[in-house]
């Protein structure tokens, strides 16, 4: 029934527009978002309604037994409840929200978005919560004239750019009778690398340089030292004995005997493999090659990253894999 359907869509669109207008939703905002009074909303919680019920009961009892002091107490507590609404409101108002650090993650992992909450007022803000999904929230305290970082989590499903979307800041402080909340749609992104294939294919055979060293230089033989664990390191290389001693994840590094040219290339993968799988295998190769301390380059259709080594190079390669032919743009 197309007419009904049409009406429904129109109604939904209207509802969306009304919500947009009420809550001032207007898409991602750059820079610092100030939670001005127009952006802070407040409604009683279930506990608040319960409290109102108790106050009503107190008033009824006072009428029935003619208790003047009962009236005074009920009105005093009721008025305190209403005053607490203003206190809840002010606990959120005028906070300044801005994007904080975001570290790249692999698809399938949890992305952590740091959100900076700055407080320019002379009052301490207790128990300010930030949530993305209304299920889990990060509660933080923001000191007077200070700043705190809250974290919201998002599961990274696909490679590319991940946006946290609209986050909700809310607070129940000081009594929990009211919930003040505000929305912040920060223009922030998390780079999501392709999930490294597990198990991956063995690294392609090294192409020997000009006769320097053997062809079997896999670089896995000679233990060269430890470095801090990085996401994506192969569990085989984690120095478990060192973990037992110090509680810090360390990865064993092996020096390749040979400085050889290792090209990780799209073409080296089986032709029947689809694009996403290829990217996952390439990610695995990049990680393994980096873990072994090899110098490597990356060849993708349309882009080439020259041979190099080190953390920055690894990040460049993974980034190229993450953004390979993505349509979703940063902006």
């Amino acid at each position: 029934m197309p007419p009904l359907n049409g009406t429904l869509t129109a109604a939904a669109a209207l509802k969306g527009r009304i919500l947009d207008w009420i809550f001032q939703w207007r898409g991602p905002e750059r820079g610092t978002i100030v939670l001005v009074q127009r952006r802070v909303f407040i409604l009683p919680t279930r506990q608040g309604l319960l409290f109102a019920g108790v106050i009503l009961l107190m008033l009824l009892g006072s009428v029935n037994y003619d208790l003047s002091l009962g009236f005074i107490l009920a009105f005093l507590l009721g008025a305190s409840g209403i005053q607490s609404m203003l206190h809840t409101f002010r606990n959120l108002a005028n906070l300044r929200i801005s994007a904080g650090r975001v570290s790249p993650v692999f698809a399938g992992d949890i992305a952590e978005f740091q959100i900076r909450i700055a407080n320019t007022a002379r009052m301490f803000r207790y128990s300010v919560a930030v949530t993305r999904d209304r299920k889990t929230a990060d509660y933080v305290d923001v000191p007077a004239d200070g700043e705190t970082v809250a974290t919201v989590l998002a599961r990274a499903v696909h490679r590319g750019w991940l946006r946290p979307g609209r986050v909700t800041l809310f607070t129940f402080f000081p009594i929990g009778l009211f919930r003040a909340w505000s929305y912040a749609d920060l223009d922030m992104h998390c780079l999501v690398y392709p999930a490294p294939a597990n198990p991956g294919l063995p690294l392609p055979r090294l192409q020997a340089g000009d006769g320097k060293g053997g062809t079997q230089g896999q670089g896995q033989d000679e233990f060269a030292g430890l470095r801090p664990y990085r996401p994506g390191d192969s569990p085989r290389h984690v120095a478990w004995k060192a973990v037992a001693r110090s509680d810090v994840l360390m990865t064993k590094q092996f020096a390749g005997r040979v400085a050889a040219e290792l090209w990780l290339s799209w073409q080296q993968l089986p032709p029947e493999m689809d694009a996403e799988r290829r990217l996952e295998h390439l990610a695995r190769w990049v990680i393994d090659a980096d873990a072994e301390g090899l110098a490597y380059g990356l060849r993708l259709p349309g882009s080439i990253i020259p041979i190099d080594s080190g953390a920055a190079h690894r990040a460049d390669c993974l980034r190229a894999l993450a953004l390979h032919e993505t349509t979703a743009d940063r902006t």
Binding site: N64, A74, S84, Y139, D141
Partner: protein, 643 residues
């Protein structure tokens, strides 16, 4: 854990007045439960399971049923509430549970007012409310806990900021005259006052009570002498040889003579009876009350809350010269067989005095001259109490004298009746009113004389003139028991007591006595007499709005920004100068990191940037941050800094 301590302590404090009143087993049970909960938090043993709690609850309800014979009376209901709250304490695990318990604690506070609404109770409950609110606040801290001082301060601020709205609601929220539903039978237990009968010894309990009966404020400060202050209450007609009783109260409504130049206002404490007290004889009827033929003022309903009424009286006059024959016949009736010696004595008196007036004087003289003693501790009287009193014991109290005098009069053929009420009262110079206590209860006689009407005769005054002139304390031997302070031995204490009572009087007038009627009065003073409920609602909303705005102003004041440290402000000026040259400081960049980046990009400014940064780091983060000279130099550097 912290919250459980707060909850337990606040709950025990709020319930404390109840616990002192309740049967011991309930108080003990509640205290033990609260102690268990606190210990459990510390020692981490398992809490009782749900079924066990349910079992305790049922058992406690059974105990209450046995104790009070009901579950729904005032005292039984409060006991049940207190026990259930204690059990809920054992079952409180989450913040939601804790908040619920806190809310119910607020309700518990109100139940304390069922027993007492005095200033100390009010202050105590205010403290409890303050602590309860602090407890609720404590549950909301998720990270840093700023300490109990801050918690209490926050709660206090909330309460203080709520006062304007509370005052508006108290004054303007439409009041309804209760009760809304039937009150339990024990709702007015413990109210003392005169009753509708009198037998030897029945007034004694009242005399020993220090409770306030009523207070009266005379217009223009024209307070009569103490000996003229006879506050009329129940009039007793019928005598069975031992006990005087009031007839079933007649509903006939008499027109009062509208005489009387004495104007005053009575504030009557609740006594759960219908009598309204006035000086003899009343010249007007209070609202919602009737006047009976024998000049009693009766409220339509028993007086169960403090009430206030304006009165006029004419004192020292007689009334009812044209009294009905049947009424006079009734005031001559005596039981045939009781007190035979009194009957003979009356006949003998009659033979000596033809005139009624002379006879009355003769009997008063007899009381005055013979060895009659006024005492609160008379010997017990037997089958013919008046005979024994007049001819044997001769020790008695106002009720003995009034009773004996009336029997003598009736036996001699003079219509007479017993009047009970209060005599005298204490003048409070601080508040300018007269305070009448239960201890001032009195009984006297009215006789009817031909061509004159009903005249008051007080035989007690003949025996002990001090009783009516200076009050009961001066009339009694010092060995007689009297409530503390009534004697007034210490001038300082006396003065303090009078001041305190004057404060209580104002409290009763303006706080406790604020009822629908007073509200109407207040509204008419605001200029809204006979206002419709729509008008009242608008007035309420306007004033409540103003109060909320005041509250908002107070609350949002703290949103103002911090006035930044002068060093920080100067440094920000420095950053702005660099930003104008395309070198903005990153949000997370510390001064040192920023300086390093800036000197890399602008090596020509390296010296100035490093100098300024070093000064700034010294000013902001070093120990001697308040060095005025360094600050001056720092500002100077920034002023001349030209990137």
């Amino acid at each position: 854990m912290r919250d459980i301590h707060w909850l337990s302590a606040t709950f025990l404090l709020a319930a404390a007045p109840h616990l002192l009143r309740m049967p011991l087993w309930i108080s003990a049970l509640v205290t033990v439960i609260a102690a268990i909960r606190v210990l459990q938090v510390r020692l981490r043993f398992a809490l009782p399971r749900k079924w066990l709690l349910a079992l305790i609850a049922v058992a406690a309800a059974g105990g209450i049923l046995l104790q009070y014979r009901t579950l729904f009376g005032r005292d039984a209901g409060v006991s049940l509430l207190v026990i259930m709250l204690a059990l809920k304490l054992l079952e409180t695990h989450s913040r939601r549970d804790g908040m619920l318990l806190g809310f119910l604690g607020c309700f518990l506070l109100v139940t304390n007012f069922l027993h007492s609404q005095t200033i100390p109770t009010a202050l105590f409950m205010l403290i409890c409310a303050w602590l309860l609110l602090a407890t609720l606040i404590g549950m909301q801290y998720t990270g840093i806990w700023p300490g109990w001082r801050q918690q209490l301060q926050r709660s206090g601020v909330l309460l203080v900021q709520a006062v304007p709205l509370m005052a508006v609601l108290f004054l303007l929220f439409p009041r309804v005259q209760g009760p809304l539903w039937g009150l339990p039978q024990d709702a007015y237990a413990g109210l003392s006052g005169l009753s509708d009968n009198m037998s030897p010894g029945s007034l004694n309990n009242l005399i020993l009570s220090y409770d306030v009966a009523f207070r009266a404020e005379f217009k223009d400060g024209k307070t009569p002498d103490a000996k003229d202050l006879y506050w009329r209450g129940p009039v007793l007609w019928d005598y069975d040889g031992r006990t005087w009783t009031a007839p079933r109260l007649t509903q006939s409504n008499e027109d009062l003579p509208e005489t009387g130049d004495l104007e005053y206002t009575v504030t009557l404490e609740p006594h759960n009876k219908r009598w309204l007290f006035a000086l003899e004889f009343p010249g007007q009827r209070p609202p919602r009350a009737i006047a009976t033929r024998d000049m009693q003022l009766l409220s339509f309903t028993p007086v169960r809350s403090r009430m206030r009424y304006d009165m006029t009286s004419a004192i020292g006059v007689a009334y009812g010269a044209d009294e009905d024959r049947s009424v006079l016949a009734r005031s001559l009736r005596l039981p045939a067989t009781s007190n035979p010696r009194t009957g003979n004595f009356a006949a003998e008196l009659r033979s000596r005095h033809r005139e009624d007036r002379d006879l009355v004087t003769a009997v008063l003289n007899l009381f005055r001259t013979e060895n009659f003693v006024y005492t609160l501790t008379p010997p017990l009287l037997g089958e013919h109490p008046v005979d024994e009193f007049l001819f044997e014991t001769r020790r008695g109290f106002c009720e003995h004298y009034a009773s004996a005098f009336t029997v003598l009069m009736r036996a001699a053929g003079i219509p007479a009746r017993v009047v009970t009420g209060y005599q005298g009262g204490e003048i409070n110079p601080v508040g300018g009113y007269i305070l009448v206590r239960q201890a001032d209860a009195h009984a006297w006689v009215e006789v009817w004389l031909e061509n004159t009407g009903w005249v008051r005769v007080d035989p007690t005054a003949a025996v002990s003139p001090a009783r009516v002139e200076r009050g009961i304390a001066s009339a009694l031997p010092r060995s007689d028991p009297l409530p503390m302070f009534v004697r007034g031995d210490f001038a300082m204490l006396q003065r303090m007591r009078l001041t305190w009572d004057s404060i209580t009087y104002s409290w009763n007038q303006w706080v406790l006595g604020y009822n629908p009627e007073r509200q109407r009065l207040f509204l008419s003073q605001l200029g809204f007499s006979e206002a419709s409920w729509q008008t009242i609602s608008v007035v309420l909303l306007v004033f409540a709005g103003i109060a909320v705005l005041i509250g908002a102003g107070l609350a949002l004041r703290d949103l103002r920004g911090v006035r930044a440290d002068p060093a920080k402000r100067a440094y920000e000026r420095f950053c702005r100068k660099l930003a104008q040259r395309g070198l903005p400081r990153g949000a997370a960049e510390g001064p040192r990191v920023f300086a390093r980046r800036a000197t890399q990009q602008r090596p020509d400014l390296a010296a100035a940037i490093e100098d300024i940064t070093a000064l700034y780091v010294g000013l902001r983060y070093a120990e001697n941050s308040s060095d005025a000279e360094t600050l001056r130099r720092f500002k100077q550097r920034i002023r001349v800094f030209k990137p």
